[in-house]
C-alpha cells in the first residue's frame, strides 16, 4: 500500500465517521417528545437512561420548582452511573427504576447538565 492510497483511505474514514456522528447530534433533540410536564406547581423532566440519555436536549421553564426523573430500564451500561454536578448528584442507579432528583428552582439561561460516570454520555436541559 503506498502513501497516496493510505491518505485516501484515512481521509475517507475520517469523513465517513464525522458525517455519521454529526448527523446524529442533530436528530436527538427532544422537540416533539413531551418529556416536561407541570403537576401541582412542580415541573417534572423525564430522561430515559439506557445506552445514553434521551432526549439529549430538553427545554423547560425557569423559575419554578423542578424535579428530574431519570428512568432506567434494565440499564447496565454507563448511563446508569449518573452525575449531575450542579446539584451534587452522583449515584449508580438501580437497573430498572425511577430516580427523582430535586434540582431546586432553575434560573433562565443556566442549563442543567448530566453526564454518565465515564463521561461518554450526556444530556442537557435548557431553561428559559
Amino acid at each position: 500500500m503506498n502513501r497516496t492510497a493510505s491518505v485516501i483511505i484515512i481521509g475517507a474514514i475520517v469523513i465517513a465517521m464525522s458525517i455519521i456522528y454529526s448527523g446524529d447530534s442533530m436528530s436527538e433533540i427532544g422537540g416533539n417528545v413531551q418529556n416536561v410536564e407541570i403537576r401541582d406547581g412542580i415541573q417534572f423532566i423525564t430522561i430515559n437512561a439506557k445506552g445514553g440519555y434521551s432526549p439529549r436536549i430538553s427545554f423547560a421553564k425557569a423559575g419554578i420548582p423542578t424535579k428530574l426523573i431519570v428512568k432506567t430500564n434494565s440499564t447496565y451500561d454507563c448511563s446508569a452511573a449518573l452525575v449531575v454536578r450542579s446539584v451534587g448528584f452522583q449515584k449508580i442507579l438501580k437497573n430498572t427504576a425511577e430516580e427523582i432528583i430535586d434540582i431546586g428552582i432553575p434560573k433562565a439561561g443556566e442549563p442543567l447538565r448530566g453526564v454518565c460516570g465515564m463521561g461518554m454520555y450526556g444530556f442537557q436541559v435548557k431553561f428559559d
Binding site: 500500500m1 484515512i10 439506557k50 447496565y76 465515564m118 463521561g119
Partner: protein
C-alpha cells in the same frame, strides 16, 4: 587494563544509561563503565583476561532481565519500513471506526431484564467487553501487552497472572460488596481520575508503540519507561493491575458492583462479579495473547504501529471522557 567498546540494544530512555552503568559497575572485574545512549555503545575498562565473547556473554546475562543486550558487533538493525506506518494508520483507524460504529449501532443495549444472576452477569460481561469499556480496559490491556511483548519479557506468564489477578479480585471484591454492603469503588471522582491516569498511560504507550518516541531516543526525562521496565518483571505487578481494573471507570462494572452490593450475601456477590469478569475474559485474552502472537510474527512492526494507532484513539477517547465526567470540559461526543 583493557578497554572494550560494545554495542548495546534495548535502551529507550535517559535513565537506562544510569541503570546499565549501575549494573556494570557492580561487577567486580569492571573498573569503569560509560554508556553513550546516542550511539548505543558502552565503553568499559576491565582488568580481566577473559575473551571479548566471554565478557559480552557475562555482561549480557546481567542486564538481559532488564531487556538490554550487548554485542561486540553492531547488531544489524531491522530497518523500519517507512511504508509500515502508511499501512498501520489506515488499519488502526478502520479498527477504531468499527469499534465506534458498534457502539453507535445500539445492538449492545439489548435488554436484560429481571434480577442480576451469575448468568446475566456473564452476558453483561460479554457485552461490556466490546462496549465503550473496551476503550479503557481493553486499550490498557492491549497497550501493556504489546509493550511487554515488544520488550521480550516472558509475556505468557505475565498475561496469565494478569487475568488470574482480575478474576480473583473481581470475585473477592464482589463477595465483600455482597456481604458487607460497603460501597467502595463507586466514588466517581476516584474512578474518573484513575481513568485519566490509565488514558495517559495508553497515550504514552501508544506513541511509543508507533515508534514516535523511538526516533529521537532520549525522550521522557521521567523514569516512566524505566518504571514500566522494572515492574514488568515482577510477579506481583500483573496481579495488581488485574486488581486495579475493578476500579477503572466502566459503567457495566459499576452497575454490576451495585448489583453485587444489593445481592445480600458474600457468595452471591462473589458469583456475580466472578461471572461478569469471566464474561469479559475472552475479549481481553484475545487482546493480550493476540498481541503476543502478532508481536512474535513477521508482521510485528505493522502490528505494533497499528496497535499504537488504536491505543492512541482509545486513550484520547478515555481522556476526553474522563475530563467530561469530572466536569472539566463539556461533553464533546455521545457515542
Amino acid at each position: 587494563m583493557n578497554k572494550y567498546t560494545f554495542h548495546i540494544s534495548g535502551t529507550h530512555c535517559a535513565s537506562c544509561k544510569i541503570l546499565i552503568e549501575d549494573i556494570l559497575s557492580e561487577q567486580s572485574f569492571i573498573k569503569k563503565a560509560h554508556v553513550d545512549l546516542k550511539s548505543e555503545i558502552v565503553e568499559i575498562e576491565t582488568d580481566s583476561d577473559l575473551s571479548v565473547d566471554e565478557i559480552v556473554r557475562i555482561l549480557t546475562s546481567k542486564v538481559v532481565k532488564n531487556g538490554y543486550s550487548f554485542s561486540a558487533e553492531k547488531a544489524v538493525k531491522i530497518k523500519d519500513d517507512v511504508n509500515v506506518i502508511w499501512k498501520a494508520v489506515p488499519i488502526g483507524l478502520a479498527l477504531l471506526s468499527l469499534f465506534f460504529l458498534l457502539q453507535k449501532s445500539g445492538i449492545l443495549n439489548l435488554g436484560i431484564g429481571g434480577n442480576a444472576t451469575p448468568i446475566t452477569g456473564l452476558i453483561i460481561g460479554l457485552i461490556a467487553s466490546v462496549s465503550s469499556c473496551l476503550a479503557i480496559v481493553g486499550g490498557l490491556v492491549l497497550s501493556l501487552s504489546a509493550k511487554i511483548s515488544q520488550d521480550n519479557v516472558s509475556d505468557t506468564k505475565t498475561f496469565v497472572l494478569f487475568h488470574i489477578g482480575r478474576l480473583v479480585s473481581f470475585a473477592i471484591l464482589g463477595g465483600i460488596l455482597g456481604s458487607a454492603g460497603i460501597a467502595f469503588g463507586v466514588n466517581f471522582t476516584v474512578t474518573s481520575i484513575l481513568g485519566i491516569v490509565a488514558s495517559l498511560v495508553m497515550l504514552i504507550l501508544g506513541l511509543n508503540l508507533m515508534g514516535i518516541f523511538a526516533k529521537n531516543k532520549v525522550t521522557l526525562h521521567s523514569g516512566l519507561f524505566d518504571f514500566f521496565r522494572k515492574i514488568e518483571h515482577k510477579t506481583l505487578t500483573p496481579l495488581v493491575v488485574g486488581f486495579g481494573t475493578f476500579f477503572l471507570p466502566c459503567g457495566f462494572t459499576q452497575s454490576m458492583q451495585v448489583s453485587a452490593l444489593g445481592s445480600g450475601s458474600f457468595m452471591s456477590g462473589l458469583l456475580l462479579m466472578l461471572f461478569f469478569a469471566l464474561g469479559t475474559l475472552p475479549m481481553l485474552m484475545l487482546l493480550s495473547f493476540g498481541a503476543s502472537s502478532f508481536a512474535h510474527s513477521k508482521q510485528a512492526p505493522l502490528f505494533f504501529k497499528s496497535a499504537g494507532v488504536v491505543v492512541i484513539g482509545f486513550g484520547t477517547f478515555s481522556l476526553l471522557a474522563g475530563l467530561t465526567s469530572l466536569g472539566v470540559i463539556d461533553p464533546l461526543f455521545n457515542i
